[in-house]
Structures are given as structure tokens and as C-alpha cells.
Symmetry: C2
Subunit: 317 residues, 2 copies
């Protein structure tokens, strides 16, 4: 059953056309060494090569371009210290409108610089959720900017859904697609697109054990946010959004969890065998596949490599 509030295939296809000039159609890579090890055929969709280094460029671009002419002029705002902040700053700047980014004063200098380099205007806040939300409310109040949330937003989900759309355009008969899950924008979008195009293909979420609210929520059939998530996969520490959880409950087959040790092993395998750079969050789906080999044996599996923004001086190996 498709709730009327979920994006349709047409919505997602239109989003694909809408944002095409602002993003890369990223390549799909394969690696025979990892295939041998995994016992299946893996197709890696390389969003680590995406603009701003992560799939977040898609949702941010779509959200900015979906604004009404009137709202657009006043700009956009968000609170984030991660890839969404950089992605929104870039999308807004490309559209010629301001982006107001609320960041905790404790955010690393390199992340502040990234947002600034994409043209974002930073307002610092205390590193608490209360301060973030209060500061964002002030900024929105003062500027009239539209708040673009990082994942719990229909236009953001539509944008993230275009990643799977590109995968399906390659005409690979995926038996399953595995995506990492944090807030659920990418996993939700992937599940929607895949449901419309190939309903028999399983879409599976992969999550760190230390931030397994999606796994728990999926089992319990109700949202169970985590208060103290802890994992090296720093892009997946957020809890599922409401809309995201609705989509995931409906269209995702399973959520698999992995330990940080398994994440680091998979990350190292990608570095050594594929010679590409991924952030820890990005290695979670491969870790989940390798932990559950028998389930995927001999099959064609799509894996979304979600991003490549990692502090090279702090690699876990």
C-alpha cells in the first residue's frame, strides 16, 4: 500500500531530471577480489565520488529546487555539522540564494571551513540539541529562510531516491540492494525507487550495533530513538525520522547490524582492494554482507557507498 504522502515513481523521476545539472551520475564499480571473498557479485554505487563527497548532495539540491519562487528568495536553513550542511550550502549557492547553517561551536574547524567554502553562512550554537533547535528557530525567524531537515523531509527523500534510480538505469537485475541507515533518507529513498521498479528486489538496511535504533524500531514496529549512540560510523548516529520509518516499515526487507570491528575490516578491504576512499559509515553495508554471506551467495547485490568524507589523519588502521 502506498500512502499518498510518499513520493511516487514519477516524483522521483522528476527529481532526477530536476537535479541532474547539480550532481554527478556516479559510477558503479566492481571488484573481483571482494566478489571472491563474498561469494556473490557486488555492484558498488560510488556516492563517495558525488559532489560534496556524499549522496546528501541529491536531497539538498532537490529540496532547494522545490521551493516556491517566493520562499526561495529568503534562503534555506538547517542545523547540521555533517555532509547535509555542506550539501545544502552548495545547493543554495548554486541556486543563488543564502544558506544559514547552525553548527555547534565544538564542530571541527575543517567542517566549518567546508560549509564556508560552499558559501554557507554559519551561526554557532552550544553543542546541545536544545541550543541547536533554539538557534535555528531564531535564524529562521529573523531571515524567513525555509528549514531543510537532513532526512525527515519528503523532498530530501525524493532526492536521495534518485541514487537508486541511476542504479536501475544500468539494467543490472539486482537481487538485493543494501544501503546504510542513519536518519533513513537514503534507505527510504532506495526502498521506494526499488519498490516501484523491481518489487521483488530486497532492499536491506545496514546499521552499526552501537546505533541500532533502526534495527530495534523495525523489530518493534515502532520508533525507538537512541539517546546515546556510539560508533565509528559517525554519519549514522542519528535516529530514524518519522516519515523515513513509515517508508522503511513498508518497503524494507530487513535491517542488519554490524560491530565497529566489522565496519573497520570492510573499510580496509575497500581501501586496499578497490583503491577508493570511503568514510566509516560507507563501509557498513559491505560489513553486513560479509557477516551474512550465506544469505547473498551467488546473487547480484547493489551496495551504496554513501560518502567519502573522512579525516585522513585519523584512519582506524
Amino acid at each position: 500500500m502506498i500512502t499518498s504522502t510518499f513520493p511516487t515513481l514519477e516524483d522521483i523521476q522528476e527529481a532526477g531530471v530536476r537535479i541532474r545539472h547539480m550532481i554527478h551520475n556516479t559510477p558503479i564499480l566492481t571488484c573481483s577480489a571482494i566478489d571472491s571473498l563474498a561469494g556473490c557479485e557486488i555492484f558498488f554505487k560510488c556516492e563517495n565520488f558525488q559532489k560534496v563527497g556524499a549522496f546528501k548532495a541529491r536531497g539538498a539540491a532537490n529540496a532547494v529546487l522545490k521551493l516556491s519562487e517566493k520562499d526561495r528568495k529568503k534562503g534555506v536553513a538547517t542545523h547540521s555539522s555533517g555532509n547535509h550542511a555542506a550539501a545544502l550550502a552548495r545547493a543554495a549557492t548554486q541556486a543563488g540564494i543564502p544558506a544559514y547553517i547552525v553548527m555547534p561551536s565544538s564542530a571541527p574547524q575543517i567542517k566549518k571551513k567546508a560549509v564556508q567554502s560552499y558559501g554557507g553562512q554559519i551561526t554557532l550554537c552550544e553543542p546541545t540539541l536544545a541550543s541547536r533547535e533554539a538557534t535555528l528557530a531564531q535564524v529562521v525567524n529573523k531571515t524567513g529562510a525555509t528549514f531543510i531537515p537532513p532526512f525527515d523531509d519528503i523532498h530530501v527523500i525524493e532526492g536521495q531516491a534518485t541514487c537508486a534510480l541511476e542504479m536501475w538505469e544500468e539494467h543490472i537485475p539486482f537481487d538485493a540492494i543494501i544501503a546504510p541507515v542513519g536518519g533513513g533518507g537514503l534507505l527510504g529513498g532506495t526502498a521506494l525507487t526499488t519498490h516501484y521498479i523491481s518489487p521483488n528486489t530486497k532492499v536491506i538496511g545496514a546499521e552499526p550495533e552501537g546505533a541500532d535504533d533502526a534495527y530495534r524500531s523495525f523489530q518493534a514496529k515502532k520508533r525507538i530513538p537512541l539517546s546515546t549512540p556510539n560508533s565509528i560510523a559517525d554519519g549514522l548516529l542519528t535516529s530514524l525520522g518519522e516519515l523515513n520509518f513509515e517508508i522503511i516499515q513498508e518497503f524494507v526487507s530487513d535491517i542488519l547490524t554490524v560491530s565497529d570491528r566489522e565496519i573497520i575490516e570492510a573499510m580496509r578491504l575497500i581501501y586496499e582492494r578497490m583503491k577508493i576512499i570511503v568514510e566509516p559509515s560507507c563501509a557498513v553495508p559491505l560489513a553486513a554482507l560479509l557477516k551474512n554471506k550465506e544469505q547473498f551467495h551467488g546473487k547480484k547485490i547493489g551496495i551504496i557507498l554513501s560518502g567519502g568524507n573522512v579525516d585522513l589523519s585519523k584512519l582506524p588502521f
Copy 2:
């Protein structure tokens, strides 16, 4: 003037067809952030994604396949602790013949394992050139295997020349192509192919200051091997081969040198902006370009990223 001993364009094209089933036609990547910084359009030929993680797979494959039926049965041999050893082991195993690899006992365990994983039979020797050569002579004497040198060999050069052949098949009108230079197999092959296909395109060698025998030899118009090279670019410490120097003198426009600091900066730029893994030697051409920006301003430059085999626990940043 083409000396009759140099491979012809037909030789190189035949090599391309001969080895096609054993290697990847590697992708060419671009990066708008690095282009802005450099002030020109750069096309990166990604041999770091090549089989065994380096362009060496090409020359080794061609040398193995060029053996006579009679010689082939007895196998191949070489002394090397680097990418050539792994490449030769893999090519021989694929051809169903033995590969005898002489390696210094001091070689890192990981390199020995790589050679073994490709099916190479290792004979250890003392870590001196004399011991390497004596041990290799013994192995060849005992087995009747054919010695395949890492660069000073016409069939190896022919194989490396297929890399530029693939670049030219993309119909990009390169103003210049920059390749790293160690023994001169890749640079020589690149220069030959480019001379035949686009004689007005400059082919430039890039070399570490601490191992600048190609630069010195090129200036002096005679080979000046180095006795104590020293650079982070550990794949470029060897001195030019004889045949390689002949080709380079004839068809290379210039040799540019860079410091280790400049190599590390370029390497970091490739990691952070392109999200791909390269070994230090591989970053030398970009370092040379960035050091000589004015020379390349507004032009279309091909850069060969030669390999991606790096110890991730020892990154210089």
C-alpha cells in the same frame, strides 16, 4: 628518427589486443576542484585501479604472452620486491606457467604474501644487488625460466605503452601527458605511443628530487645512474634503463622534478578531492604540474596515476 629496435605503433596496438583479456581498460577521471586549483583541464588515467594495483600488469602480461611456446613452458623469473613481481606472478599464473620471484629477505611480509597470492614461487636472497643478481642467475640456470626485467625490455615497454593507447582512444586532444619516471618503462611507452598518434603532444616525465637520475641524464644526454636515491616515492627509486633512456631522449619533451613535500601535498589532494587511493610515486606528476602551473595554463593535460599500492598504516598525513 625511429630506431628499428623501438616498438612500432603496430607492435603497441597488437600488444593492446594481446593483453586485453588480462587487464582493465582503466577509467579516466576528472576533478573540477583540482582543475580550478591547477588552472587547466586534467584527465587522470587511473592505473591505480589496474589489476595488481599498478600499470605493471600491462608489461608483465605482454612479456609473458610474447614468449615462444618452448620458452613459455619453463616459466619466467625476475628479481623485484615491488609491483613488477606481483604483476609477473599474476600474468604467469594466468598463462598457466611458473613464475620464480627473487626477493630480498628484508622485503615486507605483505609484499611476499601478495606475490604468493598471485601464485609466484619466492626465492629469498640477501638485500644486496649482488645477491639478487646471483640468486636470479641460479634460479634461471636451474629452471630454464626466462628473465623478465621490470622495465629495460622491449616487450615490457610495449605493454606499458598500451596505457597511453587507451588514453588516445578517448579522443581527448591532450596538449601534454605527464607520467612518473623510475626505470622509464611507463614514460618510454607513453612517449612512443604519443609520438605515433599525436606528435605535437608533449610527453613529460615527473621525478622526485631525491631520485632525479632521469632529470640529470636527460640534461647531460648520457645515463647517470644514482647510487643512493631517497624519496617517499618508493616506486621511482630505480635508475633509468638503457633502452628506456634511448626512447626518452628521442621522444620526451622534458623531465620535471619535485620535492617529497610537494609529492605529499599532491597525494593528499588526490585523496581528499578525488576520494581515490594512490601510492606516493603516483602523485609525482600532479605535484610537477602544480609546481609549474603557468606552463600548463588553460591546457588539456593527461596525467597517468600509476598505482595504488600503499601501506595504509603509514600514510604521510
